[in-house]
Symmetry: C2
């Protein structure tokens, strides 16, 4: 029987690549997405299409409401900052940061992993082109894994769960090259913080990092921009 | 200005006591409860009453759906086991265990703490009469705290957040005595895993531990039993 893995799937480029990597390693894949009050629900449509194409065993979308405590431009009615070039991408933590988002997502993944008896959780965090989020750092992931192994029945009963971060140390360009070699169709992904009619703005931090990645990979980004 | 604290409030005896302790230490209290698909929503009514009586600054109820991945008698349609005495309370992890529940609850509390600039999260876990849950153990809580300090913007910027567990090492009887000394009205709390018309069953693990606690404290439990 195949080993199982939970994959956090946002509909973005990184998590789609992460899913392809998990699949290439032979795991039976369980994809988990969140409806968390994000302003752009198009990413959930993308997540569904990616999960379907990857032929995952199960894909669930969990409803949670991060708006109930506010605090981010991704879930509140604050304008997403636009830039004219990659040089303006912030080094500090940007206002699009959602408090404790990865911690909350990983915690749901942990619960599902316990129910499914999966011992791997894949998350597409990246410490290089990471846009300054504290919960994308390697020391955070390691610490989460330690905690997870004390939190669950499986942890108590002895089998170790690991948080897999195959994208942690590679550039956006390398992520894209890896995904292309595994057959990821990046036209099915979306990255923009502020898309209009399904088209990406090309000027938010997230778009600028994506475009730089495709440039590095020497490939044209197949999605549409405004 | 008062320091702020987030208090996880379930409507049960332990968290009501925890809130009273946080208040007695002078914190401005922010209470957080969850609608998580539990079978007995009466506990949320109790949580509201307790929060109101304690005059908290804010009380939010966060909607999450733990049923989406199943796995527990508290959220699924499995019978809650009934016992005839405290001696039958399980030493192993019982089927009423909800996978990763405290991890998920603490993660929402962490997000709210970051938004509110609170550096204390109170949770009423207990390692003595704890009914065998892995996520009530002191080593789990310590590990969660370490992770939390790497997860957030505040963690990055240097101020340490702590998870406060004032009930960790005391018996149920001592919890009740502490609460009574702080004026907690235990008639407003509910502990039963399987209440009927607001009355507690008196025979589930949770009821049996509660009744033993009141016996230890030498006080009559003010709630109604079937």
């Amino acid at each position: 029987m195949k080993e199982k893995a939970i994959i956090l799937l946002s509909g973005g480029l990184d998590s789609a690549t992460c899913l392809a990597i998990a699949k290439s390693k032979g795991y039976e894949c369980y994809a988990m997405s969140f409806r968390y009050g994000q302003r752009h629900t198009i990413e959930l449509e993308k997540a569904k299409a990616i999960a379907k194409e990857a032929n995952v065993k199960e894909h669930i979308i969990v409803d949670i409401d991060l708006r109930s405590f506010g605090g981010s431009a991704l879930t509140e009615d604050i304008d997403v900052p636009k830039k004219s070039s990659i040089d303006e991408v912030e080094e500090n933590i940007p206002i699009t940061y959602v408090p404790a988002r990865n911690t909350i997502f990983l915690s749901f993944a942990l619960g599902w992993a316990e129910v499914k008896k999966a011992y791997k959780i894949f998350i597409g965090v990246n410490a290089i082109d990471y846009s300054g989020y504290p919960d994308c750092r390697p020391e955070y992931i390691k610490s989460y894994e330690n905690m997870a192994n004390l939190a669950t029945r499986e942890g108590v009963e002895g089998r170790k769960l690991t948080i897999e971060t195959p994208l942690l140390d590679i550039t956006k360009g390398e992520i894209i090259k890896t995904g292309l070699s595994l057959g990821v169709d990046y036209s099915k992904t979306i990255t923009c913080y502020d898309p209009v009619d399904g088209k990406s703005c090309g000027r938010c931090d997230s778009c600028l990092l994506r475009l730089k990645g495709f440039e590095e990979a020497g490939v044209k980004d197949p999605i549409e921009y405004l």
